[in-house]
C-alpha cells in the first residue's frame, strides 16, 4: 500500500468515530497494542522534540526500505505516533521524501493536532522526512 493509500485508510477508520473522544479512544487502543518498542531505546538519541509529552522514534533501513518504531509516555500521543510510524514504514526514502500528503490536514483529530511546536507528532513527522532526505542523498 502506498503512503497515500495508508493515510486514506486511517482517515476512513477515524471517520467511523462520530466524535473526538471516540477517535482518542481508538488512538489509545492503538497505543496499548503497540508493545514492540524496547524500553531501553527510550534514550535521548531517539527522542523527538516536544513539550507536552515525550516521543521516541527509531528508524531502521532494511533492503532499501525504511521502517520506524515509536513510543511516547502519553497514550494518545503514542497512538498517533504509532499510526504515523506504520504509514511511513515499508517505504523507500524516495517515496517518503516525495510524499506530499498533509497527514495533519487529513486526520481531523481535534486539539492533539494543533500545529504547536510542542507537539511531538509534528516533530516526529519532520524527523521522518529529514531521515528520508538524508538517505536519499
Amino acid at each position: 500500500m502506498s503512503i497515500e493509500e495508508k493515510v486514506l485508510n486511517y482517515k476512513k477508520i477515524l471517520s467511523l468515530f462520530p466524535n473526538t473522544q471516540e477517535k482518542y479512544q481508538y488512538l489509545i487502543e492503538q497505543a496499548k497494542e503497540n508493545t514492540n518498542f524496547p524500553k531501553e531505546l527510550r534514550i535521548d538519541e531517539f527522542k523527538v522534540n516536544g513539550c507536552q509529552s515525550q516521543v521516541w522514534l527509531v528508524p531502521e533501513e532494511k533492503n532499501e526500505k525504511l521502517y520506524f518504531i515509536s513510543d511516547s509516555d502519553a497514550l494518545i500521543a503514542k497512538g498517533l505516533v504509532t499510526l504515523i510510524s506504520s504509514i511511513y514504514s515499508d517505504e523507500s526514502a524516495e517515496e517518503i521524501y516525495n510524499s506530499k500528503i498533509d497527514l495533519m490536514q487529513e486526520f481531523e483529530l481535534g486539539a492533539i493536532l494543533s500545529p504547536a511546536r510542542r507537539n511531538g507528532a509534528f516533530s516526529m513527522l519532520k524527523s521522518i522526512k529529514n531521515y528520508a532526505e538524508k538517505l536519499r542523498n
Binding site: 466524535n19 473526538t20 473522544q21 482518542y24 479512544q25 489509545i28 513539550c51 507536552q52 509529552s53 515525550q54 509516555d73 502519553a74 497514550l75 494518545i76 500521543a77 481535534g110 486539539a111 492533539i112 510542542r118
Partner: protein, 406 residues
C-alpha cells in the same frame, strides 16, 4: 457578592460550544476571558478615536492620548500607587521583569545576589539568569515546603548584605500559594538594602493589592490575566527609584533631546516606553480595571476563596488524584494535579472532549516540577466567571477520563 452565573453573560466566549458541550473554562491562570465592556471599548477606539498618542496636534490624537494616559490614573487608584507617573506600560509581566532585570542590575557588582523562590514562573527566573551571567551575579532560591508554601525561615537565612534584589511571586500559578508579603518585606528591610519586586501576574487579578501597605518597590502586572487584552501589562515602581533607573529600550517618544551622538531621556514614565505604545490595548485594560473595580476586589477575593474551598473538597474526593496546592488557610483557586501512571496531556486532551479547558505541562515552572520529580501536571484555575458547577463538571470529567485512560 459575585453572581458568576449572571457574570458569564458579560463574556461572549461562554456562548461557544466545544465538542458538543458548553465551555467549562478553567484556564484563567494562562489567560482570562474578556468581558464585552473591554471588547466594545477597544472597538470603539478603533472606530471613533484612533490616532497615535503623544504626537498629533489634532483632536483625535488629543482624545486618544487623554484616554490612554487616564489608564495610569485608573491603575494608580487600583493599586494605591503614590502617583500615576509610577505606572509604566509594558507588553506584559514578562517584559516587566526583563526591563527591571536589565535596568536595576546595571550598577551591580560581581557576587551580588538575587533572591527568588523555587516556585517562580520562568518570567521571574530567566531575565535574572541572563543578567546574572552578564554581571557575575548569584541567584538564590528560597525553598517551598511540603505544604507548597514558602519556607520563611529558609528565605530569611538567605538574606544578607549581598542581597540586592528580592523578586517573589505574590500568588503562585502552580499551587495558589499566597506569599506573606508583609512579613517578607519586613525581613528584607531589616537585613538588606535590596529592591523588593512582586510578581503580580496571578495576584493582581484575584486580590486587592495596595502597594503602599505591602512596602514593596516594584510590581509586575499582566493585563490579559485580569480581563484585559494581550500585549499589555504594567510595571509599577516607586517614582524615586524609577527616576534613578536607566531605560533599557530606546527609540522615539522616550527622549527629551536627541543629538547624533547622544540623547537625554524624557521623564518617567515615558523614558521606559519607546515607540508607539499599544494604546488601544492599554485603554482596553483600563476598562478591565473599571470592571474589576465595579465588582469590588474584596468581592473578587471572596469569590476566589469560596470557589477554592468548594473545588478543593471536590477534587480531594478523587482518590488517585495528587494535588499540588497550598495547604494554607487561604490560597488562590489554582490546582496542579497528576495521577500516577497517567500522562497529564492525556487527561487534558480527554477533558477537552467534555468541553473542559485546562492546561497541561509544567506551566513555565519547570525547576519546581523537576524538584517534585514530575514531568507534567494538568492545572485548573478558577476566576470570577467560574461557578461551583464548573468544578463539578471538571471532577466528573476527570473521573470519566481516568476510566478510559487507566
Amino acid at each position: 457578592m459575585i453572581n458568576s452565573v449572571e457574570l458569564k453573560n458579560d463574556f461572549p466566549i461562554f456562548k461557544r460550544v466545544i465538542n458538543g458541550k458548553s465551555l467549562t473554562y478553567l484556564d484563567s491562570g494562562a489567560t482570562s476571558q474578556k468581558p464585552i465592556q473591554v471588547l466594545s471599548k477597544m472597538n470603539e477606539i478603533y472606530e471613533q478615536f484612533n490616532a497615535n498618542v503623544h504626537r498629533g496636534t489634532y483632536q483625535l490624537s488629543s482624545e486618544t492620548t487623554t484616554l490612554y494616559e487616564n489608564v495610569r490614573t485608573k491603575f494608580k487608584n487600583f493599586l494605591n500607587a503614590y502617583s500615576s507617573e509610577e505606572i509604566i506600560f509594558t507588553k506584559g509581566c514578562t517584559e516587566g521583569f526583563n526591563l527591571l532585570a536589565q535596568s536595576l542590575t546595571k550598577q551591580f557588582n560581581q557576587g551580588d545576589e538575587i533572591l527568588l523562590t523555587e516556585i517562580e514562573h520562568h518570567a521571574n527566573i530567566i531575565p535574572w539568569q541572563m543578567a546574572a551571567q552578564e554581571k557575575g551575579l548569584k541567584l538564590k532560591f528560597a525553598n517551598i515546603d511540603k505544604n507548597f508554601n514558602l519556607d520563611l525561615e529558609h528565605f530569611e537565612s538567605l538574606l544578607s548584605e549581598k542581597t540586592k534584589i528580592v523578586s517573589i511571586v505574590g500568588e503562585s500559578n502552580i499551587s495558589g500559594m499566597l506569599t506573606d508579603i508583609l512579613s517578607l518585606t519586613n525581613m528584607v528591610r531589616e537585613k538588606t538594602n535590596a529592591y523588593i519586586i512582586l510578581d503580580g501576574a496571578q495576584l493582581v487579578p484575584h486580590r486587592s493589592v495596595d502597594v503602599q501597605k505591602l512596602g514593596i518597590d516594584f510590581l509586575c502586572v499582566s493585563g490579559h490575566k485580569m480581563l484585559g487584552p494581550t500585549g499589555i501589562g504594567i510595571v509599577w515602581g516607586k517614582k524615586e527609584l524609577l527616576e534613578e533607573m536607566e531605560p533599557v529600550f530606546g527609540g522615539g517618544d522616550m527622549i527629551e533631546e536627541v543629538n547624533f551622538d547622544s540623547a537625554t531621556w524624557a521623564p518617567v514614565p515615558h523614558k521606559f516606553e519607546p515607540g508607539t505604545p499599544p494604546y488601544v490595548e492599554a485603554i482596553g485594560l483600563g476598562e478591565a480595571v473599571d470592571y474589576l473595580t465595579n465588582l469590588g476586589m474584596e468581592n473578587v477575593q471572596k469569590h476566589s476563596d469560596e470557589l477554592r474551598g468548594y473545588a478543593l473538597e471536590k477534587l480531594n474526593s478523587i482518590n488517585e488524584l495528587n494535588i499540588i496546592h497550598s495547604k494554607a488557610e487561604k490560597s488562590g483557586c489554582t490546582f496542579s494535579m497528576y495521577v500516577d501512571g497517567v500522562h497529564a496531556s492525556d487527561i487534558s486532551l480527554m477533558l477537552d472532549t467534555y468541553g473542559v479547558a485546562v492546561r497541561s505541562g509544567h506551566h513555565c515552572v519547570q525547576p519546581f516540577h523537576k524538584k517534585l520529580g514530575i514531568d507534567a501536571t494538568f492545572r485548573a484555575t478558577g476566576y470570577i466567571y467560574n461557578t461551583n458547577d464548573d468544578f463539578d463538571v471538571l471532577v466528573n470529567a476527570i473521573e470519566a477520563s481516568l476510566k478510559i485512560l487507566k
